[in-house]
């Protein structure tokens, strides 16, 4: 009976309308570089003050999911991730667009996002309380080991040009140390500038490395179009992926949803890390796919299912413990409290009707967003056939506006521009920007985890770092990852030498 009343409640017009508004708002916010899901939820929050709590939370969570999903549109279309969580999507998605398979990429991205989102909603619905205990098991040593494991991803990302890839990653780690040191309050590499004391913004850097650098690359051939071939047979629009496509991505989507779902429950690790980790695993498992990194639907599926899987799972510790699993979830925490709901076990007992209605609403929103997204996607492919000159203007202006609107300051705009030029030069010199982005995300996590472990360790630090089954497992995985990346690289160079 309870189940029926929850479903009936979700389907009331007010809640459906709120969901629709959230989805549409999220699609717009997510599709524009620089407008993050945080900003969307924060802007919508005051609007919900007058609404009933269920509508309000359905609207905000729908916006969150839709924004993370919509980040894939510009990533696929223009190599311009709409949110930083879609940066990994740009690699294979954009390559597909160039090959005339934009619609295929969008269809895979949508299908995977919906799967990831629904998976995380089910996680939230069924096993939230026990999962939240897992997130508490992560202390400083575990975060350090997680960061190390994340960094081994660089080895796989960089395959083909290991030295340059590793350099790009190390530079990203070094860049992440700029700003006030958390532990001592000492300004590192700030040169007396207040702006630099605040650190180098991650989102402006991603906009620069991916979007502006792409615009500059397009300047080389202003009269061409992104898509230089005819739309292929597989690139025609259709609502659902073909049976063959589903067969190809089935395993990837399942694995990536699990990875994203797991990463999402950890506070401090969100869609960015989730999508890169899943992309890396997909690459490892697709070593027979020659297209990977050059337009494989598996790459798109991995990144998109993982980043949407983090949306629901970021709410697991939020609802059960009051600890947000991502910055956006932190704003949702404010929303819950403003509407008079205390996160904690009571949400699943006393307020069960509220909680389950919101979760079911969130689940439904993931489906709604897929259909609306596919509807919009049908008309978006035309962008790939516009002359580069117009697209350059669009990407440059949106990059500037996006960077500015993050914090309404010019410093972020200059950061974006510096990284745009750097990204352009790097791409000309065959340094991939992806490891740098990864280094910037994981650097603070690694450093903070390590230094906190040193502070907390009673004996030798190494023993403290490997003091729990979780950190030992992560250390073993890192080792495995390094060895397998090294082995693959060795085989690749050997094969290349034999061939050349």
């Amino acid at each position: 009976m309870e189940v029926l009343s929850v479903i009936a409640d979700v389907l009331t017009p007010a809640h459906l309308l709120a969901m629709l508004a959230g989805v549409v708002g999220g699609l717009c916010i997510g599709a524009l570089p620089g407008l993050t899901s945080n900003l969307g939820v924060a802007l919508l929050l005051p609007v919900t003050f007058g609404m009933d709590p269920i509508s309000a939370l359905i609207m905000l969570t729908s916006l969150y999911a839709a924004a993370i999903y919509a980040g894939s549109f510009p990533a696929i279309l223009l190599h311009t991730p709409g949110t930083s969580a879609s940066a990994a999507t740009a690699i294979d998605g954009f390559a597909l667009t160039r090959k005339g398979e934009f619609n295929k990429a969008i269809r895979i991205a949508t299908f995977s996002s919906v799967c990831g989102g629904v998976f995380s909603a089910l996680m939230l619905l069924v096993i939230a309380p026990p999962l939240s205990l897992l997130s508490l098991k992560f202390g400083p040593p575990e975060y350090f080991m997680l960061a190390v494991f994340g960094l081994t991803i660089i080895g796989t990302l960089a395959s083909g040009n290991m030295i340059k890839g590793l350099m790009s990653g190390a530079a990203g780690l070094a860049i992440s140390t700029v700003g006030l040191d958390l532990d001592s309050g000492f300004p590192r590499f700030a040169f007396g500038s207040t702006d630099l004391q605040g650190g180098i913004g991650f989102v402006p850097a991603v906009i620069g490395l991916f979007s502006l650098s792409q615009a500059l690359l397009m300047c080389e051939e202003p009269h061409r179009t992104i898509q230089q071939v005819k739309v292929t047979a597989g690139g025609q629009w259709r609502l659902f992926p073909t049976r063959d496509e589903i067969r190809q991505i089935r395993a990837t989507v399942m694995r990536s949803s699990l990875i994203g779902g797991f990463i999402g429950i950890l506070p401090g690790a969100g869609g960015d890390i989730g999508s890169w980790a899943a992309y890396n695993e997909a690459k490892r498992f697709s070593r027979n796919d020659p297209d990977f990194g050059k337009g494989s639907i598996r790459g798109v599926a991995a990144s998109e299912s993982a980043n949407n899987a983090t949306t629901g799972s970021a709410m697991v510790p939020l609802l059960t413990l009051g600890i947000p699993g991502s910055p956006t979830a932190a704003i949702l925490l404010g929303a819950l409290i403003i509407h008079g709901l205390q996160p904690g076990r009571t949400l699943f007992t006393v307020h069960a009707h509220f909680t389950y209605t919101v979760i079911v609403g969130f689940l439904l929103a993931n489906l709604v967003m897929g259909f609306i997204g596919m509807g919009l996607g049908r008309y978006m492919g035309v962008v790939a056939r516009l002359p580069n000159s117009i697209l350059i203007a669009v990407v440059v202006v949106l990059s500037v506006v996006g960077a500015f609107s993050l914090g309404n300051n010019m410093y972020d705009v200059y950061t974006m521009m510096a990284f745009g030029l750097l990204g352009y030069l790097m791409r000309k010199g065959n340094f991939s920007p992806a490891p740098m982005v990864l280094g910037m995300i994981l650097g603070p996590m690694a450093e903070q985890g390590f230094r906190q472990s040193v502070i907390l360790a009673d004996g030798p630090v190494v023993l403290h770092l490997l003091g729990s089954p979780i950190s030992i497992t992560l250390a073993a995985l890192s080792l495995l990852s390094i060895v397998s990346a090294g082995y693959l690289e060795f085989k690749r160079t050997k094969a290349a030498r034999a061939a050349g």
């Binding site: 040191d181 532990d183 001592s184 590192r188 590499f189 690359l217 300047c219 500037v400 010019m410 521009m417």
Partner: protein
Amino acid sequence: MLWVNRITGAGLILLAIPFWRMAGDYPDMAGLFPRTMLIVICALAAAMIVRSFIPALAPANEGEGLFTRAAFARPLAVFAVLLVLIAASNLIGFFAAMIVLSAAMVPILGVTKWRPYALGCLILMVFVYVLFVIFLNVPLTTLRPGS
């Protein structure tokens, strides 16, 4: 392209020196992580230089895009114009700067079909104004004289 690798590698090693010295002033463990990264970067840079002298190991040139002089001129010109206009946007206003930018790109990119280009830019400006200034309240308009 091998000389690019050599110059980049040498440049990075030279760049690392002042940063290394700066990190020496940092209290407690604040200098540890940056210094570790600088060592890693220098080691990789050295490896890159060494590798460029061993023909068998030298990687093929795989950078993106074209490698003619004209191909480099356009992006760098666009970037330079953008930088000047962003710096000037405090004086002339954001929208004026962006309109000048789109006009300046016409000769740089050699746009011939200017009608669709102008229409595209116009739609873009209106879109940015409506969405960012009106709906999202981003103070782009404060970047102009008199406010």
